[in-house]
C-alpha cells in the first residue's frame, strides 16, 4: 500500500477536490409526498450522491433525511425483480416468476371480464400514487366508479373542509405567510406533505421572532421548537377553536369588512322551520343570492359591489319569506355557553385562562399588528386598491385534526376562525398555492350513478368529485351505495377522496356487492395501511364456502418492493424505483406550487433498471391499450401512447391545449398553461432542472379569491372556469341540502336507517361533537387515547428496508406520560397490554413528560411483519416493533343493528385517531416480544439476498 505524501507541516496530504461522479442529473424526489427537486450524482451509471436542487421551488436546495437516504431505497434488496404469479395459497408467499407478456396477458384477461359485464366489479385503488391524473383517467375510461387513491385514509377531512369553506386547503395546497405572519398556530402536525417547506418556514418564523404555538398531544419534532406547546386531548381541537371563536366574537375582534366583502356571512338564510327551503339562501327570481342592503333597506343581489349588507337582524322579503344573515346564525352558534372557555377547558385539557390568553394573543396580532404592503391591486369589481392590508395570524393543520370522526367540522371551524379574523390570502395570513382558490367546491361531480356504469363504456365523469346535494350521490332509488367503499352514499356523502380503508372489508362481506378483481398500486393494505390488520388478512384470504374460491377472486398488485401486501396478491407487476422512471407532478393532480407561483415538475430516469421491472404508469397505459379503452387506443385500435408514460405526459390533452405539464407548451415551447403539445417539452423541462415555476406578479399574490389580475390569469390558464369572485363560505348551503333531505324534503332522501345521522352531521355551520368511538365505548373501560405519528426520517416513506433509515427507527415503543405511568405502576422498559374495544396489542413502554396525560402514542409503520421487506426474520422491526392498526376497527361498534365505517360521517375520512384504550402492565414473563406476532412470510423467488454488510462507496484498498 502506498503511503500518502506529507505536506510541509508533516501532515498527510489530503485530496480536497475529489470527483466521485461523472455526471449530475436533476429529477424529483419520491421518498415522501413533498416532492423536492434533487440532483443525482452518478459515476458509471451508479448513484453516488443525492442533494437538494437549489433552483427548485419546493426545497430550494435543502433535503431531508429521507431524501438523502434515497440511495439505499434505490439499491434496496427488497426490490422485486420480475413479474410474479401466485402458485400457493394466498398469504403463503409461494410465487413463480413469469415473463411480462404472460403477466400482461393475464391482467388483461382478468380485467376484461368485468369490463364487458359489470365494470363495478373492478376495484382499482392506488396508495401513495403521484400519478392520479393518469390512474383516475384510466378508471374512468375503464368505466368503474371504484377508484380512489389513499386520500380517504389520509386527510380528506382537511381537503374537503377547505374546499367547501375557502376554495383551498391546508395540506400542501396552501401555506402560512412565512415571511409576514406574526402569530402561527399549528394543529396536529408531526410531519406533513410539505415536509421541507414547513421546516424552512418555521426557521424563518423563529429567526424573525414571530410566535409559534403548537397544539398537539405530543411534544416532538416541530412542537419541540414551538414557543408554546399546548398538549391538547385528542379529538378536541374543534372544541378549543370554537372557544377561541367565541372569545373573539365577544371581544369584537373580528374583521367585519373582510366578512362583508369576501365571505357569505351577509347572505340571507331562509328561516322556515319544517319547510323545504329552510336554511337555504334566499334567492331572487333570477336565482341570485340575496343580502340585505342597509342603504336601500331592501334585499339585493348579494354579489353586487358597493352595497352595505347587514350582518345581523331579521328581515322579511317581499314574498313573505323570513330571512336572517348567515352571520347571525353563526354568532348564535358560537356564542352558545357550551363553548365558553370554562365549559371546554376540562374536556380539551387546556385551562380556561390559556384559551382566553390565546384568543387575546390572536386578537392582538391580527388587529394591532396589521400588515400593510405598498402593492396596488384590483379587486373583482374592478376597484383599484393602493395597498394590501392583512392580518398576520396564520394556521396550519393536518392529520391530528383530520383523522377524527369530527375532523371535517373541526377543520371547517379553523377555516371559519381564519375568515372571522380576515386572514385568508391576506398578507401575514394563510396563502393559497395556485391553482387554488377554486370555486366552492370545485365543479366536478363524481361519476357512477345508477345507469352511468355501462359494460364496455367509460364513466361519463371522473370517479371522484364534489357533491353539492343529494342529487350528486352515488346511490340507487333505495339509497344503496353504488361504490364498493360506500363513498358518496348516505354514509359518507362527501367522500371526495374515496374510502380506500373500507374496500377490502366491504368486498369480503360483499357489502354492497362482491367484486371480481382488486387492482392496487403502492398500498400496503395487509399491513400498516389498513385498520384491523388481522381482519384484513382474513378478508384477503377468505373463501366462498360454496365454491371454494376466494371471495375476492383476483388480486393484481404493483409495487417496487417486497412489502407485506405482496403475499396476498395473485399477480405482481413489479414497479421501478423513483430514479428509473418518468413521472409528472401535474397541476391537474397534486401541485407543488407555492404561494408566489404555480409549479409543476417531472421525474426523468437517471439510471436504468438492472432487473425485469417496468414503471407502473407504462404498464397501465399498456393495459389500457390491450383492453382497448377509449383514449388509450386511437381510432385504428393502435396504442395512443406507444412511447409509454413520457409519450402520455407530452401528448395527452385533458382539454384542448391543456395537458399534464403547463410549462413549455406550444410547438415552440413558448406557451404557458394552454398550448398544443410540444414534442420537446420533456427536454425543455430537463434543461430547466426538471421543473417549471410560473411566478405571479406582486399584484396577483394576495386576495386571490377576489383579485381580478389573478383570477383573469387563472382563467386564462384553465385553473378556474370564470374570473368571478370566489366568495368564501362561512355557511355551507351544500350541507343544508343534505340535511333537508334527511328532514324529508326532495325526491332523494336517506333511508330511515341513516336519516338521523345525516340530519345531525350535515350542519351548515361547523360544530363540535365527541368522536364516535369515544361516544360509543365506556370511559371507564377505555379511559385513554392512543395515537400514532410519522417520524420525520420516515414520513410517508417505505423506509424499513432502507439500511440507513432503519438504524434511526428500527423499532418503536409506546410512549406514555411519566406521571400517568407512575399512577398505573408502569416503568420505563416495562411491557404493557393496550386494549381497545376491538383487540389488544402488547408493546414496550418508554416514558416522557411531553405527552397529554390521557394519551399514549407511538411511531407509525415502524413495526414490520417478519420476513417482509427482505429483512432478517429476527429484525427488530418485527421482534420489537409493533403496529396500533391491529386494535383499530374499520367498523364502529354496532348500533341499531348496523355498523358504520370508523370514519367521519361527512367525508368518510378514516378516524385513525379516535382510538380509545386502556393500559395494563404485562406480566414479567410476557415481556420481550410484541403481540400479536404474525408468522414470517416466505420470500418470493428471485429476490436478491440481502447483504449482511453494506460498504456503499467503498474504494479499492479499504478492507
Amino acid at each position: 500500500m502506498v503511503k500518502p505524501a506529507t505536506n510541509s507541516s508533516g501532515e498527510p496530504t489530503v485530496d480536497t477536490s475529489p470527483k466521485n461522479w461523472d455526471e449530475v442529473k436533476t429529477t424529483t424526489c419520491y421518498m415522501c409526498a413533498c416532492r423536492c427537486g434533487i440532483k443525482v450524482y452518478l459515476k458509471d451509471g451508479t448513484v453516488t450522491y443525492i442533494e437538494g436542487n437549489r433552483d427548485h421551488p419546493v426545497n430550494k436546495g435543502v433535503l431531508c433525511g429521507k431524501g438523502s437516504a434515497g440511495i439505499m431505497q434505490h439499491y434496496s434488496p427488497a426490490r422485486l425483480q420480475k413479474p410474479l404469479l401466485r402458485v400457493g395459497e394466498r398469504g403463503s408467499g409461494e410465487f413463480k416468476e413469469i415473463e411480462w407478456d404472460e403477466a400482461l396477458g393475464l391482467a388483461t384477461e382478468w380485467l376484461d371480464g368485468p369490463r364487458k359485464t359489470d365494470p363495478r366489479k373492478l376495484a382499482f385503488f392506488t396508495g401513495r400514487d403521484q400519478s392520479q391524473g393518469l390512474t383516475g383517467w384510466w378508471a374512468q375510461r375503464y368505466g368503474t366508479p371504484n377508484y380512489a387513491a389513499h386520500g380517504g385514509f389520509c386527510s380528506v377531512n382537511m381537503a374537503a373542509a377547505g374546499l367547501y369553506s375557502i376554495g383551498g386547503s391546508f395540506w400542501e395546497f396552501g401555506e402560512p405567510d412565512w415571511d409576514l405572519t406574526e402569530y402561527f398556530l399549528m394543529f396536529g402536525v408531526a410531519e406533513d406533505h410539505a415536509s421541507n417547506p414547513i421546516k424552512m418556514g418555521l426557521s424563518k418564523l423563529k429567526n424573525r421572532g414571530a410566535k409559534f404555538v403548537s397544539i398537539n398531544p405530543v411534544q416532538t419534532g416541530y412542537s419541540a421548537i414551538a414557543d408554546e406547546w399546548i398538549g391538547i386531548r385528542p379529538g378536541t381541537d374543534g372544541l378549543f377553536v370554537a372557544s377561541l371563536i367565541r372569545e373573539l366574537l365577544i371581544a369584537g375582534k373580528i374583521d367585519l369588512e373582510f366578512l362583508v366583502r369576501y365571505t357569505n356571512a351577509p347572505w340571507l338564510v331562509v328561516q322556515n322551520p319544517g319547510g323545504a327551503d329552510d336554511g337555504l339562501f334566499a334567492r331572487d327570481g333570477e336565482g341570485r343570492v340575496l343580502a340585505w342592503d342597509k342603504t336601500a333597506m331592501a334585499a339585493v343581489d348579494a354579489h353586487l359591489p358597493e352595497i352595505a349588507p347587514a350582518l345581523s337582524g331579521a328581515f322579511e322579503l317581499d314574498d313573505g319569506r323570513k330571512v336572517v344573515p348567515a352571520f347571525q346564525l353563526l354568532a348564535e352558534r358560537f356564542m352558545d355557553d357550551q363553548y365558553t372557555p370554562d365549559a371546554v377547558a376540562d374536556h380539551a385539557g387546556i385551562s380556561a385562562d390559556t384559551i382566553r390568553r390565546i384568543a387575546a394573543e390572536i386578537a392582538e396580532a391580527a388587529f394591532e399588528r396589521e400588515v400593510v404592503l405598498d402593492v396596488p391591486w384590483t379587486d373583482w369589481a374592478g376597484r383599484r386598491h393602493e395597498k394590501m392590508v392583512g392580518r398576520p395570524v396564520s394556521f396550519h393543520a393536518m392529520r391530528g385534526i383530520s383523522a377524527h370522526s369530527n375532523g371535517f367540522h373541526s377543520c371547517r371551524m379553523l377555516h371559519l376562525l381564519q375568515m372571522l379574523i380576515g386572514s385568508i390570502d391576506t398578507p401575514g395570513g394563510f396563502r393559497y398555492h395556485p391553482p387554488f382558490p377554486k370555486p366552492l367546491p370545485p365543479p366536478l361531480k363524481p361519476g357512477g350513478k345508477p345507469g352511468e356504469v355501462v359494460a364496455g363504456e367509460p364513466l361519463p365523469g371522473p370517479p371522484l368529485g364534489f357533491p353539492t346535494g343529494p342529487e350528486d350521490l352515488l346511490v340507487d332509488a333505495e339509497g344503496t351505495p353504488q361504490r364498493i367503499d360506500k363513498a358518496y352514499s348516505w354514509e359518507a356523502p362527501i367522500a371526495a377522496h374515496g374510502m380506500m380503508h373500507m374496500v377490502i372489508s366491504n368486498a369480503a362481506r360483499r357489502d354492497p356487492y362482491g367484486i371480481d378483481v382488486l387492482f392496487m398500486y403502492m398500498a400496503n393494505m395487509s399491513w400498516n395501511s389498513s385498520m384491523n390488520v388481522p381482519g384484513t388478512i382474513a378478508a384477503l384470504t377468505q373463501k366462498d364456502e360454496d365454491t371454494g374460491d376466494y371471495v375476492i377472486p383476483k388480486i393484481i398488485y404493483s409495487d417496487a418492493y417486497y412489502s407485506e401486501m405482496i403475499p396476498y396478491a395473485d399477480l405482481i407487476l413489479p414497479d421501478t424505483t423513483y430514479l428509473e422512471r418518468w413521472d409528472c407532478i401535474s397541476l391537474l393532480d397534486r401541485p407543488i406550487s407555492d404561494a408566489d407561483g404555480a409549479a409543476d415538475s417531472i421525474r426523468q430516469p437517471v439510471t436504468k433498471p438492472d432487473r425485469d421491472v417496468r414503471p407502473f404508469q407504462d404498464v397501465l397505459l399498456d393495459l389500457g391499450a390491450r383492453l382497448g379503452l377509449p383514449g388509450f387506443v386511437g381510432d385504428d385500435g393502435a396504442p395512443a401512447y406507444p412511447g409509454g408514460y413520457s409519450d402520455y405526459i407530452v401528448n395527452h390533452e385533458r382539454a384542448p391545449g391543456v395537458g399534464p405539464l403547463a410549462g413549455f407548451r406550444g410547438k415552440d415551447g413558448d406557451q404557458y398553461g394552454k398550448g398544443e403539445p410540444n414534442p420537446n417539452q420533456l427536454e425543455a423541462y430537463i434543461e430547466n432542472g426538471c421543473h417549471y415555476f410560473h411566478e405571479l406578479e406582486p399584484s396577483q399574490r394576495y386576495f386571490r379569491h377576489a383579485n381580478a389580475d389573478y383570477l383573469n390569469w387563472a382563467q386564462s390558464v384553465g385553473f378556474v372556469g370564470s374570473s368571478n369572485q370566489i366568495v368564501l363560505h362561512v355557511y355551507s348551503e351544500a350541507m343544508q341540502k343534505f340535511r333537508l333531505a334527511a328532514r324529508g324534503h326532495g325526491d332523494i332522501r336517506p333511508p330511515e336507517q341513516h336519516r338521523a345521522r345525516v340530519e345531525a352531521f350535515f350542519d351548515p355551520l361547523p360544530f363540535w361533537y365527541a368522536p364516535f368511538e369515544e361516544a360509543m365505548v365506556a370511559d371507564q373501560d377505555f379511559p385513554m387515547h392512543a395515537i400514532t405519528q410519522r417520524p420525520m426520517a420516515m414520513y410517508h416513506s417505505w423506509g424499513s428496508q432502507n439500511a440507513w433509515l432503519r438504524q434511526i427507527h428500527g423499532s418503536n415503543s409506546l410512549y406514555m406520560n411519566r406521571a400517568r405511568a407512575k399512577e398505573l405502576g408502569v416503568e420505563e422498559g416495562d411491557w404493557v397490554w393496550l386494549t381497545s374495544h376491538h383487540g389488544r396489542v402488547k408493546a414496550p413502554v418508554a416514558l416522557m413528560d411531553g405527552v397529554n396525560p390521557d394519551t399514549v402514542w407511538t411511531w407509525n409503520a415502524i413495526g414490520k411483519r417478519s420476513g417482509a421487506w427482505n429483512l432478517a426474520e429476527d429484525a427488530p422491526e418485527s421482534q420489537k416493533g409493533f403496529l396500533l392498526n391491529h386494535v383499530i376497527s374499520e367498523l364502529l361498534p354496532e348500533q341499531g343493528g348496523y355498523r358504520y365505517a370508523n370514519a367521519d360521517p361527512v367525508t368518510g375520512q378514516a378516524a385513525w385517531y379516535d382510538l380509545r384504550i386502556r393500559i395494563e402492565k404485562a406480566k414479567p414473563e410476557e415481556f420481550g416480544i410484541p403481540s400479536p406476532n404474525f408468522e414470517a412470510t416466505a420470500k418470493p423467488p428471485g429476490l436478491r439476498p440481502a447483504p449482511d454488510k453494506v460498504r456503499f462507496g467503498a474504494k479499492e484498498g479499504t478492507t
Binding site: 470527483k19 433525511g65 419541540a224 366583502r261 354568532a331 392582538e364 426520517a793 438504524q807 467503498a954
Partner: protein, 252 residues
C-alpha cells in the same frame, strides 16, 4: 503519542460548525446527508453491519439525540446533533500512538489518516463527546472531517463548498465558518446568541459552538384584554352586544 501543531504553526483559522438548538427539529437530514457524502468520501466506506439483520450497526459521523430537559412538568424536548467539535486541544489527537489522528495546522480540522490508524480506539476513549466511531469492518476510526473533501472542492460550485450537513439542513440550524475570525458570520452569531462550548471544564476548547434555545414566550402576552370581559357577556346579552357592535355601515 501525537503532537498538535504549535501556536506558531497554526494559521489562526478555526473552521467549525455553529448549531442552533433553537430551530433544530431533529429531522435527521444532517445525519443522513453526512452519511451519504462521507460513505464515498474521505472516510469511505462508512460500513453498515447486519444492514438488513437483527442489530444493524453502522458508522455515522453525526448523530441526533432527542431528550427532554428542564424542571419536572415544564420539561422541553431538545434535539441535539452530535459530531466532532474539532477541539483546539483535542485529547483524541495527543493520545494517538501512530500519528494517524492529527489536527491540521492550516484550518484546525481534526482528521484520521486511515492508512496509519491501527484501530486501537484510544482516541474514542479520550474524546468526552463520543464523536468518534469505530468502523468494525474497515478496522479504522471514523469521524467528522468537516467535509474536507467538499469545502475546498473545486469540482463543486463555490456555494456548495460547505459540509454536507450544512448544505442539507432544512431549518438552517447548521452554520459553517471560521470561528477564529471574530468578524465571520459564525463568530458574530455566537456572540449575539450566547453560543457556548460543550463541557468547557474539560479544557479541550471545542471549536464548534451550540446556540441555546431562545427563551420561550409561552405565558407572556402583550395582548390587550378583550374589549368586553367575557364574564359579563355570556348568553343573550353577549349576542345582543355583538350584534349592536356589528350593526354598522360596511361597504362590500
Amino acid at each position: 503519542m501525537t503532537s498538535l501543531p504549535t501556536p506558531q504553526e497554526r494559521s489562526g483559522k478555526k473552521l467549525g460548525l455553529v448549531i442552533d438548538l433553537d430551530i433544530c427539529v431533529g429531522c435527521q437530514a444532517c445525519a443522513v446527508s453526512c452519511k451519504e457524502w462521507n460513505t464515498s468520501g474521505y472516510s469511505a466506506p462508512l460500513t453498515d453491519l447486519a444492514a438488513y439483520g437483527d442489530q444493524p450497526i453502522g458508522a455515522w459521523l453525526n448523530r441526533i439525540h432527542t431528550y427532554e430537559a428542564g424542571p419536572d412538568g415544564e420539561s422541553q424536548t431538545v434535539h441535539f446533533p452530535r459530531s466532532c467539535l474539532h477541539c483546539e486541544e483535542p485529547a483524541c489527537v495527543t493520545v494517538c500512538p501512530t500519528g494517524a489522528s492529527y489536527k491540521r495546522a492550516e484550518d484546525g480540522i481534526v482528521l484520521v489518516n486511515p492508512e496509519t490508524c491501527i484501530g486501537c480506539k484510544l482516541c474514542s476513549w479520550a474524546c468526552p463527546y463520543g464523536a468518534r466511531e469505530y468502523d468494525y469492518d474497515h478496522g479504522v476510526m471514523k469521524k467528522c472531517t468537516l467535509c474536507v473533501d467538499r469545502i475546498y472542492n473545486e469540482n463543486l460550485e463555490e456555494v456548495d463548498r460547505v459540509p454536507a450537513c450544512v448544505r442539507a439542513c432544512p431549518t438552517s440550524a447548521r452554520h459553517f465558518g471560521d470561528l477564529g475570525d471574530p468578524e465571520s458570520d459564525v463568530s458574530k452569531m455566537v456572540a449575539d446568541r450566547g453560543g457556548y462550548d460543550l463541557l468547557p471544564e474539560m479544557g479541550y476548547k471545542p471549536v464548534n459552538k451550540y446556540l441555546p434555545p431562545r427563551p420561550r414566550r409561552d405565558k407572556e402576552t402583550a395582548a390587550p384584554a378583550p374589549v368586553q370581559a367575557s364574564e359579563t357577556a355570556d348568553g343573550k346579552a353577549g349576542i345582543d352586544k355583538l350584534f349592536a357592535w356589528a350593526d354598522r355601515m360596511l361597504s362590500r
